[in-house]
Protein backbone atom coordinates (compact mmCIF):
# COMPACT_ATOMS: atom_id res chain seq x y z
CA UNK A 1 0.00 0.00 0.00
CA UNK A 2 1.46 3.35 -1.01
CA UNK A 3 0.98 6.33 1.25
CA UNK A 4 -0.99 9.25 -0.14
CA UNK A 5 0.92 12.41 -1.17
CA UNK A 6 -0.54 14.30 1.79
CA UNK A 7 0.75 11.68 4.23
CA UNK A 8 4.18 11.69 2.59
CA UNK A 9 4.32 15.46 2.81
CA UNK A 10 3.40 15.29 6.49
CA UNK A 11 6.11 12.66 7.00
CA UNK A 12 8.70 14.80 5.30
CA UNK A 13 7.69 17.79 7.40
CA UNK A 14 7.94 15.86 10.63
CA UNK A 15 11.36 14.48 9.69
CA UNK A 16 12.57 17.97 8.88
CA UNK A 17 11.23 19.16 12.21
CA UNK A 18 13.11 16.29 13.85
CA UNK A 19 16.39 17.25 12.21
CA UNK A 20 16.05 20.84 13.39
CA UNK A 21 15.27 19.74 16.92
CA UNK A 22 18.13 17.27 16.79
CA UNK A 23 20.46 20.21 16.20
CA UNK A 24 18.71 22.05 19.03
CA UNK A 25 19.27 19.21 21.45
CA UNK A 26 22.81 18.26 20.50
CA UNK A 27 24.26 21.73 19.83
CA UNK A 28 25.21 22.77 23.39
CA UNK A 29 27.28 19.64 23.78
CA UNK A 30 29.09 20.10 20.47
CA UNK A 31 29.69 23.77 21.20
CA UNK A 32 31.28 22.82 24.51
CA UNK A 33 33.58 20.44 22.66
CA UNK A 34 34.40 23.09 20.09
CA UNK A 35 35.35 25.65 22.77
CA UNK A 36 37.33 23.17 24.83
CA UNK A 37 39.56 22.34 21.86
CA UNK A 38 40.60 25.94 21.18
CA UNK A 39 43.46 27.95 22.45
CA UNK A 40 42.94 31.31 24.09
CA UNK A 41 43.22 33.40 20.96
CA UNK A 42 40.78 31.39 18.91
CA UNK A 43 37.90 31.94 21.34
CA UNK A 44 37.62 35.57 20.32
CA UNK A 45 38.13 35.33 16.59
CA UNK A 46 35.66 37.75 15.08
CA UNK A 47 34.08 35.00 13.04
CA UNK A 48 34.23 31.96 15.27
CA UNK A 49 34.54 28.69 13.44
CA UNK A 50 32.63 25.79 14.79
CA UNK A 51 35.58 23.52 14.13
CA UNK A 52 38.71 25.16 15.54
CA UNK A 53 41.63 25.61 13.14
CA UNK A 54 44.28 24.47 15.58
CA UNK A 55 42.58 22.01 17.88
CA UNK A 56 44.49 21.39 21.08
CA UNK A 57 44.11 19.15 24.08
CA UNK A 58 46.09 21.50 26.32
CA UNK A 59 42.99 22.69 28.16
CA UNK A 60 42.18 19.18 29.30
CA UNK A 61 45.73 18.62 30.49
CA UNK A 62 45.70 21.91 32.32
CA UNK A 63 42.39 21.23 34.04
CA UNK A 64 43.23 17.65 34.98
CA UNK A 65 46.62 18.56 36.43
CA UNK A 66 45.25 21.59 38.26
CA UNK A 67 45.26 21.08 42.04
CA UNK A 68 41.57 21.34 42.75
CA UNK A 69 39.96 19.65 39.79
CA UNK A 70 40.91 15.99 40.33
CA UNK A 71 39.68 16.36 43.92
CA UNK A 72 36.34 17.69 42.67
CA UNK A 73 36.09 14.76 40.29
CA UNK A 74 36.91 12.26 43.00
CA UNK A 75 34.41 13.84 45.42
CA UNK A 76 31.71 13.85 42.75
CA UNK A 77 32.34 10.20 41.93
CA UNK A 78 32.41 9.21 45.59
CA UNK A 79 29.20 11.06 46.50
CA UNK A 80 27.33 9.84 43.41
CA UNK A 81 28.29 6.18 43.84
CA UNK A 82 27.70 6.08 47.58
CA UNK A 83 24.36 7.82 47.20
CA UNK A 84 23.35 5.21 44.61
CA UNK A 85 24.24 2.46 47.09
CA UNK A 86 22.51 4.28 49.94
CA UNK A 87 19.35 4.72 47.90
CA UNK A 88 19.23 0.99 47.24
CA UNK A 89 19.84 0.05 50.89
CA UNK A 90 16.95 2.24 52.01
CA UNK A 91 14.50 2.01 49.13
CA UNK A 92 14.76 -1.67 48.19
CA UNK A 93 13.33 -3.19 51.40
CA UNK A 94 10.70 -0.46 51.51
CA UNK A 95 9.74 -1.18 47.90
CA UNK A 96 9.43 -4.86 48.75
CA UNK A 97 7.18 -4.03 51.70
CA UNK A 98 5.02 -1.75 49.53
CA UNK A 99 4.75 -4.44 46.91
CA UNK A 100 3.99 -7.44 49.13
CA UNK A 101 2.44 -6.46 52.44
CA UNK A 102 -1.18 -5.38 52.40
CA UNK A 103 -0.99 -2.99 55.29
CA UNK A 104 -3.78 -0.60 55.97
CA UNK A 105 -3.84 2.76 54.16
CA UNK A 106 -1.22 1.59 51.69
CA UNK A 107 -2.62 3.91 49.04
CA UNK A 108 -2.28 6.90 51.34
CA UNK A 109 1.31 5.98 52.18
CA UNK A 110 2.22 5.71 48.53
CA UNK A 111 0.68 9.11 47.88
CA UNK A 112 2.61 10.65 50.74
CA UNK A 113 5.73 9.16 49.22
CA UNK A 114 4.99 10.77 45.88
CA UNK A 115 4.06 14.10 47.40
CA UNK A 116 7.41 14.30 49.15
CA UNK A 117 9.17 13.39 45.95
CA UNK A 118 8.42 16.95 44.99
CA UNK A 119 10.12 18.61 47.94
CA UNK A 120 13.00 20.51 46.42
CA UNK A 121 16.05 21.14 48.58
CA UNK A 122 15.50 24.80 47.76
CA UNK A 123 12.39 25.11 49.91
CA UNK A 124 14.07 23.60 52.97
CA UNK A 125 17.48 25.22 52.46
CA UNK A 126 17.57 27.34 55.59
CA UNK A 127 16.09 24.87 58.08
CA UNK A 128 18.20 22.09 56.57
CA UNK A 129 21.40 24.05 57.00
CA UNK A 130 20.64 25.05 60.57
CA UNK A 131 19.62 21.52 61.44
CA UNK A 132 22.69 19.94 59.85
CA UNK A 133 24.86 22.50 61.57
CA UNK A 134 23.31 21.54 64.88
CA UNK A 135 23.97 17.87 64.12
CA UNK A 136 27.55 18.71 63.21
CA UNK A 137 27.08 17.34 59.69
CA UNK A 138 27.92 20.49 57.75
CA UNK A 139 31.15 19.99 55.80
CA UNK A 140 30.94 16.23 55.98
CA UNK A 141 30.29 13.94 53.05
CA UNK A 142 28.12 11.83 55.33
CA UNK A 143 25.66 14.65 55.91
CA UNK A 144 25.41 15.52 52.23
CA UNK A 145 24.98 11.84 51.40
CA UNK A 146 22.07 11.44 53.80
CA UNK A 147 20.26 14.29 52.06
CA UNK A 148 21.06 12.90 48.58
CA UNK A 149 19.62 9.54 49.63
CA UNK A 150 16.54 11.07 51.25
CA UNK A 151 15.85 13.08 48.09
CA UNK A 152 16.49 10.15 45.74
CA UNK A 153 14.48 7.54 47.62
CA UNK A 154 10.88 8.35 46.62
CA UNK A 155 11.47 7.92 42.89
CA UNK A 156 13.70 4.89 43.49
CA UNK A 157 11.13 3.28 45.76
CA UNK A 158 8.41 3.88 43.21
CA UNK A 159 10.43 2.37 40.36
CA UNK A 160 11.60 -0.58 42.46
CA UNK A 161 8.06 -1.35 43.57
CA UNK A 162 7.14 -1.52 39.88
CA UNK A 163 9.98 -3.99 39.29
CA UNK A 164 9.08 -6.18 42.26
CA UNK A 165 5.37 -6.15 41.33
CA UNK A 166 6.26 -8.06 38.16
CA UNK A 167 7.68 -10.98 40.18
CA UNK A 168 4.81 -13.40 40.81
CA UNK A 169 3.59 -13.56 44.40
CA UNK A 170 3.17 -17.32 44.09
CA UNK A 171 6.95 -17.56 44.26
CA UNK A 172 6.95 -15.90 47.69
CA UNK A 173 4.23 -18.13 48.96
CA UNK A 174 5.90 -21.30 47.74
CA UNK A 175 9.18 -20.33 49.39
CA UNK A 176 7.42 -19.41 52.63
CA UNK A 177 5.75 -22.80 52.67
CA UNK A 178 9.17 -24.37 52.38
CA UNK A 179 10.09 -22.56 55.57
CA UNK A 180 11.97 -19.67 54.03
CA UNK A 181 11.94 -16.64 56.32
CA UNK A 182 10.79 -13.25 55.05
CA UNK A 183 14.30 -11.92 54.97
CA UNK A 184 15.90 -14.83 53.19
CA UNK A 185 12.98 -14.80 50.77
CA UNK A 186 13.70 -11.14 50.05
CA UNK A 187 17.43 -11.60 49.86
CA UNK A 188 17.65 -14.92 47.99
CA UNK A 189 14.67 -14.76 45.67
CA UNK A 190 13.34 -11.24 45.19
CA UNK A 191 16.65 -9.38 44.97
CA UNK A 192 18.23 -11.72 42.37
CA UNK A 193 15.07 -11.66 40.26
CA UNK A 194 14.78 -7.86 40.41
CA UNK A 195 18.39 -7.27 39.32
CA UNK A 196 17.55 -5.42 36.07
CA UNK A 197 15.26 -3.02 37.94
CA UNK A 198 17.79 -2.60 40.73
CA UNK A 199 20.59 -1.88 38.27
CA UNK A 200 18.61 0.79 36.46
CA UNK A 201 17.55 2.48 39.68
CA UNK A 202 21.18 2.46 40.80
CA UNK A 203 22.27 4.11 37.55
CA UNK A 204 19.50 6.71 37.70
CA UNK A 205 20.45 7.52 41.31
CA UNK A 206 24.15 7.79 40.47
CA UNK A 207 23.43 10.15 37.56
CA UNK A 208 21.17 12.23 39.80
CA UNK A 209 23.84 12.32 42.51
CA UNK A 210 26.48 13.37 40.01
CA UNK A 211 24.30 16.33 38.96
CA UNK A 212 23.41 17.46 42.49
CA UNK A 213 24.24 21.09 42.92
CA UNK A 214 22.20 22.82 45.57
CA UNK A 215 22.71 20.33 48.41
CA UNK A 216 26.50 20.18 48.20
CA UNK A 217 26.64 23.93 47.57
CA UNK A 218 24.71 24.45 50.79
CA UNK A 219 26.34 21.83 52.99
CA UNK A 220 29.93 21.62 51.76
CA UNK A 221 31.90 24.83 52.07
CA UNK A 222 35.43 23.41 52.10
CA UNK A 223 37.06 23.26 48.68
CA UNK A 224 38.52 19.81 49.30
CA UNK A 225 35.04 18.38 49.88
CA UNK A 226 33.22 19.90 46.91
CA UNK A 227 31.93 17.69 44.11
CA UNK A 228 32.44 18.58 40.50
CA UNK A 229 29.14 20.42 39.89
CA UNK A 230 29.92 22.89 42.66
CA UNK A 231 33.53 23.14 41.54
CA UNK A 232 32.47 24.11 38.04
CA UNK A 233 30.10 26.73 39.42
CA UNK A 234 32.81 28.27 41.61
CA UNK A 235 35.15 28.19 38.64
CA UNK A 236 32.55 30.06 36.57
CA UNK A 237 32.44 32.74 39.27
CA UNK A 238 36.18 33.23 38.84
CA UNK A 239 35.90 33.22 35.06
CA UNK A 240 37.88 35.87 33.30
CA UNK A 241 38.21 36.52 29.62
CA UNK A 242 41.28 34.32 29.47
CA UNK A 243 39.85 31.16 30.95
CA UNK A 244 36.75 30.42 28.87
CA UNK A 245 38.43 27.51 27.09
CA UNK A 246 39.51 26.04 30.44
CA UNK A 247 36.03 26.25 31.91
CA UNK A 248 34.71 24.62 28.74
CA UNK A 249 37.14 21.74 29.20
CA UNK A 250 36.12 21.44 32.86
CA UNK A 251 32.44 21.43 31.90
CA UNK A 252 33.01 18.79 29.26
CA UNK A 253 34.89 16.59 31.71
CA UNK A 254 32.06 16.87 34.20
CA UNK A 255 29.41 16.12 31.59
CA UNK A 256 31.12 13.19 29.88
CA UNK A 257 30.84 10.48 32.57
CA UNK A 258 27.08 10.96 32.81
CA UNK A 259 26.73 10.79 29.03
CA UNK A 260 28.93 7.71 28.68
CA UNK A 261 27.06 5.86 31.42
CA UNK A 262 23.76 6.90 29.97
CA UNK A 263 24.62 5.79 26.44
CA UNK A 264 26.03 2.46 27.61
CA UNK A 265 23.00 1.65 29.72
CA UNK A 266 20.29 3.53 27.85
CA UNK A 267 18.11 0.50 27.25
CA UNK A 268 17.99 -0.31 30.96
CA UNK A 269 17.35 3.30 31.99
CA UNK A 270 14.64 4.04 29.44
CA UNK A 271 12.80 0.82 30.17
CA UNK A 272 12.87 1.49 33.91
CA UNK A 273 11.54 5.00 33.33
CA UNK A 274 8.71 3.88 31.08
CA UNK A 275 7.78 0.88 33.25
CA UNK A 276 7.60 3.06 36.36
CA UNK A 277 5.62 5.72 34.54
CA UNK A 278 3.01 3.31 33.25
CA UNK A 279 2.28 2.21 36.77
CA UNK A 280 2.61 5.57 38.46
Amino acid sequence: MRASPATRLADAASYLFMLVSLAFFAAPLLWLLSLALRDRREIYLGVARFIPKHPTLDNFFYVLTNNAFPIYLWNGLKLATLSGIGVLIVALPAAYAFSRFDFRMKGAWMLALLAFQMISPLVIMVPLYRYMNWLGLVDTHFGALMVYVALGCPLACWLLKGAIDTIPRALDEAAMMDGCSRFSLFWRIIVPLAVPGIASVFIISVIAGWSQFLVPFLLLTRTDLMPIAVGVFTFQGLESSTSTQLLAAACLISVLPAIVVFLLLQRLILSAMTAGAVKG
Binding site: S14, S21, F24, F25, A27, P28, L29, W31, L32, S34, L35, I43, Y44, G46, V47, A48, I89, P93, A94, A97, D102, F103, K106, L111, A115, F116, M118, I119, S120, L122, V123, I124, M125, V126, P127, L128, Y131, A150, L171, E173, A174, A175, D178, R182, F186, R188, S211, F217, A229, C251, L252, S254, V255, I259, F262, L263, L270, T274, A277, V278
Partner: protein
Protein backbone atom coordinates in the same frame (compact mmCIF):
# COMPACT_ATOMS: atom_id res chain seq x y z
CA UNK B 1 20.07 -19.69 46.05
CA UNK B 2 19.84 -23.18 47.50
CA UNK B 3 18.34 -26.06 45.58
CA UNK B 4 15.60 -26.33 48.21
CA UNK B 5 14.05 -23.05 47.23
CA UNK B 6 14.45 -23.86 43.55
CA UNK B 7 12.56 -27.08 44.10
CA UNK B 8 10.16 -25.05 46.18
CA UNK B 9 9.07 -23.12 43.10
CA UNK B 10 7.79 -26.42 41.78
CA UNK B 11 5.04 -26.11 44.36
CA UNK B 12 3.42 -23.40 42.30
CA UNK B 13 1.00 -25.80 40.63
CA UNK B 14 -0.23 -27.26 43.90
CA UNK B 15 -3.28 -25.54 45.41
CA UNK B 16 -2.53 -23.66 48.61
CA UNK B 17 -4.44 -24.39 51.80
CA UNK B 18 -7.33 -21.91 51.79
CA UNK B 19 -6.78 -20.84 55.41
CA UNK B 20 -3.30 -19.58 54.69
CA UNK B 21 -4.61 -17.64 51.70
CA UNK B 22 -7.18 -15.81 53.79
CA UNK B 23 -4.65 -14.85 56.42
CA UNK B 24 -2.48 -13.46 53.69
CA UNK B 25 -5.11 -11.25 52.13
CA UNK B 26 -6.67 -9.88 55.30
CA UNK B 27 -4.68 -7.28 57.31
CA UNK B 28 -1.22 -8.13 58.51
CA UNK B 29 -0.86 -10.29 61.55
CA UNK B 30 1.82 -11.21 64.07
CA UNK B 31 5.23 -11.70 62.56
CA UNK B 32 4.09 -10.36 59.18
CA UNK B 33 3.47 -7.00 60.78
CA UNK B 34 6.92 -7.07 62.38
CA UNK B 35 8.49 -7.85 59.03
CA UNK B 36 6.61 -5.03 57.31
CA UNK B 37 7.91 -2.61 59.94
CA UNK B 38 11.43 -3.99 59.69
CA UNK B 39 11.51 -3.54 55.92
CA UNK B 40 10.30 0.04 56.04
CA UNK B 41 12.20 1.27 59.11
CA UNK B 42 15.29 2.56 57.29
CA UNK B 43 13.11 4.50 54.89
CA UNK B 44 10.90 5.96 57.59
CA UNK B 45 13.88 6.92 59.77
CA UNK B 46 15.70 8.64 56.94
CA UNK B 47 12.54 10.39 55.85
CA UNK B 48 11.74 11.69 59.33
CA UNK B 49 15.29 12.81 59.99
CA UNK B 50 16.17 14.47 56.68
CA UNK B 51 12.87 15.47 55.08
CA UNK B 52 10.00 15.68 57.56
CA UNK B 53 11.94 17.39 60.32
CA UNK B 54 13.51 20.11 58.12
CA UNK B 55 10.11 20.71 56.49
CA UNK B 56 8.42 21.14 59.86
CA UNK B 57 11.30 23.28 61.11
CA UNK B 58 10.97 25.42 57.98
CA UNK B 59 7.26 25.90 58.53
CA UNK B 60 7.99 26.86 62.13
CA UNK B 61 10.65 29.38 61.08
CA UNK B 62 8.14 31.08 58.80
CA UNK B 63 5.27 31.05 61.29
CA UNK B 64 4.99 34.83 61.84
CA UNK B 65 2.35 36.29 59.46
CA UNK B 66 3.75 39.82 59.71
CA UNK B 67 6.87 38.61 57.87
CA UNK B 68 4.75 37.93 54.80
CA UNK B 69 3.16 41.37 54.85
CA UNK B 70 6.63 42.84 54.97
CA UNK B 71 7.68 40.64 52.09
CA UNK B 72 4.63 41.59 50.02
CA UNK B 73 5.68 45.24 50.19
CA UNK B 74 9.19 44.52 48.97
CA UNK B 75 9.33 45.90 45.39
CA UNK B 76 11.95 43.34 44.31
CA UNK B 77 9.72 40.56 45.57
CA UNK B 78 6.81 41.95 43.55
CA UNK B 79 8.97 41.96 40.42
CA UNK B 80 10.03 38.37 41.04
CA UNK B 81 6.42 37.25 41.41
CA UNK B 82 5.51 38.71 38.02
CA UNK B 83 8.61 37.12 36.48
CA UNK B 84 7.83 33.78 38.10
CA UNK B 85 4.29 33.74 36.76
CA UNK B 86 5.56 34.53 33.25
CA UNK B 87 8.39 32.02 33.44
CA UNK B 88 6.41 29.16 34.94
CA UNK B 89 3.29 29.83 32.87
CA UNK B 90 5.12 29.85 29.54
CA UNK B 91 7.66 27.12 30.33
CA UNK B 92 5.16 24.61 31.71
CA UNK B 93 2.77 24.90 28.81
CA UNK B 94 5.45 24.79 26.13
CA UNK B 95 7.11 21.83 27.80
CA UNK B 96 3.88 19.89 28.04
CA UNK B 97 2.82 20.71 24.48
CA UNK B 98 6.22 19.81 23.07
CA UNK B 99 6.38 16.59 25.05
CA UNK B 100 2.94 15.63 23.82
CA UNK B 101 3.91 16.15 20.17
CA UNK B 102 7.32 14.52 20.46
CA UNK B 103 6.02 11.50 22.31
CA UNK B 104 3.70 10.94 19.36
CA UNK B 105 6.65 11.00 17.00
CA UNK B 106 8.64 8.54 19.08
CA UNK B 107 5.83 5.98 18.82
CA UNK B 108 7.11 5.38 15.28
CA UNK B 109 9.23 2.32 14.67
CA UNK B 110 12.73 2.19 13.26
CA UNK B 111 16.28 2.14 14.51
CA UNK B 112 16.88 5.77 13.74
CA UNK B 113 13.85 6.86 15.73
CA UNK B 114 15.39 5.04 18.68
CA UNK B 115 18.69 6.78 17.99
CA UNK B 116 16.97 10.16 17.94
CA UNK B 117 15.28 9.38 21.23
CA UNK B 118 18.70 8.86 22.76
CA UNK B 119 19.90 12.25 21.64
CA UNK B 120 16.71 13.77 23.00
CA UNK B 121 17.12 12.24 26.42
CA UNK B 122 20.77 13.30 26.66
CA UNK B 123 20.05 16.74 28.15
CA UNK B 124 18.22 15.03 30.99
CA UNK B 125 21.25 12.87 31.75
CA UNK B 126 23.68 15.79 31.60
CA UNK B 127 24.52 17.70 34.78
CA UNK B 128 22.57 20.94 34.52
CA UNK B 129 25.13 23.62 35.26
CA UNK B 130 27.86 22.74 32.74
CA UNK B 131 25.20 22.32 30.06
CA UNK B 132 23.73 25.73 30.78
CA UNK B 133 27.16 27.31 30.88
CA UNK B 134 27.60 26.05 27.32
CA UNK B 135 24.29 27.60 26.26
CA UNK B 136 25.38 30.80 27.93
CA UNK B 137 28.37 30.86 25.59
CA UNK B 138 26.30 29.95 22.55
CA UNK B 139 24.19 33.04 23.13
CA UNK B 140 27.13 35.35 23.76
CA UNK B 141 26.47 38.51 21.79
CA UNK B 142 29.99 38.96 20.42
CA UNK B 143 31.44 35.54 19.71
CA UNK B 144 28.60 33.16 20.49
CA UNK B 145 27.71 30.36 18.11
CA UNK B 146 24.24 31.66 17.50
CA UNK B 147 25.10 35.18 16.43
CA UNK B 148 27.97 33.97 14.29
CA UNK B 149 25.61 31.63 12.57
CA UNK B 150 23.12 34.43 11.94
CA UNK B 151 25.87 36.68 10.59
CA UNK B 152 27.51 34.11 8.36
CA UNK B 153 24.37 32.61 6.92
CA UNK B 154 21.92 35.50 6.82
CA UNK B 155 24.21 38.50 7.24
CA UNK B 156 22.26 39.68 10.30
CA UNK B 157 23.89 41.21 13.35
CA UNK B 158 22.28 39.26 16.19
CA UNK B 159 21.37 41.09 19.39
CA UNK B 160 22.89 40.44 22.81
CA UNK B 161 20.49 37.70 23.75
CA UNK B 162 21.12 37.61 27.45
CA UNK B 163 21.96 41.11 28.52
CA UNK B 164 19.99 43.67 26.51
CA UNK B 165 16.28 43.01 26.52
CA UNK B 166 13.94 41.59 29.10
CA UNK B 167 11.99 39.49 26.62
CA UNK B 168 15.03 38.07 24.85
CA UNK B 169 16.56 37.06 28.17
CA UNK B 170 13.33 35.51 29.37
CA UNK B 171 12.92 33.66 26.08
CA UNK B 172 16.49 32.35 26.23
CA UNK B 173 16.06 31.16 29.79
CA UNK B 174 12.77 29.42 29.04
CA UNK B 175 14.16 27.77 25.91
CA UNK B 176 17.14 26.41 27.82
CA UNK B 177 14.95 25.15 30.59
CA UNK B 178 12.81 23.35 28.03
CA UNK B 179 15.93 21.95 26.40
CA UNK B 180 16.93 20.35 29.69
CA UNK B 181 13.57 19.13 30.97
CA UNK B 182 11.26 18.40 28.06
CA UNK B 183 13.01 15.09 27.24
CA UNK B 184 12.15 13.60 30.61
CA UNK B 185 8.47 14.40 30.24
CA UNK B 186 8.51 13.17 26.66
CA UNK B 187 9.62 9.76 27.91
CA UNK B 188 6.92 9.79 30.60
CA UNK B 189 4.20 10.63 28.06
CA UNK B 190 5.66 8.10 25.65
CA UNK B 191 5.09 5.48 28.32
CA UNK B 192 1.54 6.78 28.70
CA UNK B 193 0.94 6.44 24.96
CA UNK B 194 2.36 2.93 24.91
CA UNK B 195 -0.17 1.94 27.57
CA UNK B 196 -3.14 2.89 25.36
CA UNK B 197 -4.71 -0.34 24.02
CA UNK B 198 -3.91 -0.71 20.33
CA UNK B 199 -7.41 -2.10 19.62
CA UNK B 200 -8.89 1.37 20.13
CA UNK B 201 -6.88 2.66 17.18
CA UNK B 202 -7.65 -0.37 15.06
CA UNK B 203 -11.37 0.02 15.70
CA UNK B 204 -11.15 3.73 14.84
CA UNK B 205 -9.33 2.91 11.61
CA UNK B 206 -12.08 0.49 10.63
CA UNK B 207 -14.63 3.23 11.30
CA UNK B 208 -12.65 5.53 9.01
CA UNK B 209 -11.41 8.03 11.59
CA UNK B 210 -8.84 10.56 10.38
CA UNK B 211 -5.54 10.96 12.28
CA UNK B 212 -6.82 14.20 13.81
CA UNK B 213 -9.98 12.48 14.98
CA UNK B 214 -7.95 9.66 16.47
CA UNK B 215 -5.86 12.19 18.35
CA UNK B 216 -8.88 14.06 19.72
CA UNK B 217 -11.12 11.11 20.48
CA UNK B 218 -8.65 8.44 21.57
CA UNK B 219 -5.18 9.70 22.44
CA UNK B 220 -6.09 12.82 24.38
CA UNK B 221 -8.89 11.33 26.50
CA UNK B 222 -6.74 8.28 27.26
CA UNK B 223 -3.77 10.45 28.22
CA UNK B 224 -5.85 12.91 30.23
CA UNK B 225 -5.01 11.52 33.70
CA UNK B 226 -1.30 11.39 32.85
CA UNK B 227 -1.43 14.94 31.49
CA UNK B 228 -3.20 16.37 34.54
CA UNK B 229 -0.86 14.69 37.00
CA UNK B 230 2.26 15.59 35.05
CA UNK B 231 1.17 19.21 34.67
CA UNK B 232 1.20 19.57 38.46
CA UNK B 233 4.57 17.85 38.78
CA UNK B 234 6.01 20.01 36.01
CA UNK B 235 4.69 23.16 37.66
CA UNK B 236 6.33 22.32 40.98
CA UNK B 237 9.57 21.39 39.26
CA UNK B 238 9.64 24.52 37.12
CA UNK B 239 8.95 26.76 40.08
CA UNK B 240 11.79 25.23 42.06
CA UNK B 241 14.53 25.17 39.46
CA UNK B 242 16.67 28.12 38.59
CA UNK B 243 19.79 26.43 37.24
CA UNK B 244 19.13 27.72 33.72
CA UNK B 245 18.63 31.26 34.99
CA UNK B 246 21.62 31.37 37.29
CA UNK B 247 24.02 30.20 34.58
CA UNK B 248 22.52 32.13 31.68
CA UNK B 249 21.57 35.55 32.99
CA UNK B 250 22.07 35.44 36.75
CA UNK B 251 18.66 37.10 37.02
CA UNK B 252 19.51 39.99 34.71
CA UNK B 253 19.41 42.22 32.81
CA UNK B 254 18.41 44.24 35.85
CA UNK B 255 15.83 42.06 37.52
CA UNK B 256 14.28 40.83 34.28
CA UNK B 257 14.72 37.11 34.92
CA UNK B 258 14.88 37.10 38.71
CA UNK B 259 12.31 34.48 39.71
CA UNK B 260 11.18 33.52 43.20
CA UNK B 261 13.49 30.49 43.46
CA UNK B 262 16.57 32.43 42.38
CA UNK B 263 15.62 35.28 44.69
CA UNK B 264 15.47 32.85 47.61
CA UNK B 265 18.88 31.49 46.64
CA UNK B 266 20.32 35.00 46.39
CA UNK B 267 18.86 36.12 49.71
CA UNK B 268 20.58 33.21 51.42
CA UNK B 269 23.87 32.93 49.54
CA UNK B 270 24.51 36.50 48.39
CA UNK B 271 22.98 38.56 51.20
CA UNK B 272 23.45 35.93 53.93
CA UNK B 273 20.00 36.91 55.16
CA UNK B 274 18.87 33.68 56.80
CA UNK B 275 15.69 35.17 58.30
CA UNK B 276 14.54 36.52 54.93
CA UNK B 277 15.57 33.26 53.31
CA UNK B 278 13.51 31.17 55.69
CA UNK B 279 10.42 33.28 55.01
CA UNK B 280 10.88 32.83 51.27
CA UNK B 281 11.53 29.11 51.76
CA UNK B 282 8.40 28.73 53.86
CA UNK B 283 6.39 30.56 51.21
CA UNK B 284 7.67 28.28 48.44
CA UNK B 285 7.13 25.26 50.66
CA UNK B 286 3.51 26.30 51.09
CA UNK B 287 2.98 26.66 47.35
CA UNK B 288 4.71 23.33 46.65
CA UNK B 289 2.70 21.46 49.25
CA UNK B 290 -0.57 22.93 47.99
CA UNK B 291 0.28 21.79 44.48
CA UNK B 292 1.38 18.40 45.83
CA UNK B 293 -1.97 17.95 47.53
CA UNK B 294 -3.74 18.84 44.32
CA UNK B 295 -1.55 16.26 42.63
CA UNK B 296 -2.48 13.60 45.18
CA UNK B 297 -6.16 14.35 44.67
CA UNK B 298 -5.86 13.70 40.94
CA UNK B 299 -3.93 10.44 41.22
CA UNK B 300 -5.87 7.25 40.55
CA UNK B 301 -6.23 5.14 43.68
CA UNK B 302 -4.97 1.58 43.93
CA UNK B 303 -8.42 0.15 43.13
CA UNK B 304 -8.97 2.21 40.00
CA UNK B 305 -5.88 0.87 38.31
Amino acid sequence: MSTDTLEGTGLLVRPRPPLLGRMWRGGLQGSEWTWAIAFTVPYIALFLAFVAYPVAFGAWLGRDPSLYFELAEDPIFQRTIVNTILYVGIAVNLKMFGALLLSGFFMRRGWWVKGLLLVFVLPWAMPALPAFISIHWMLNGEWGLFNNFLFNVFGIEGPGWLDTSRWLALGAVITSHIWKWMPFWTVILLAGRMAIPQELYEAAEVDGASPAQRLIHITLPQLRPAIVVNMILITIQTMNTFDAIISLTGGGPGLATEVISLYTFNIVFRNYDLAGGSVMSALMLGISLTLALAYAAFLPTEEER
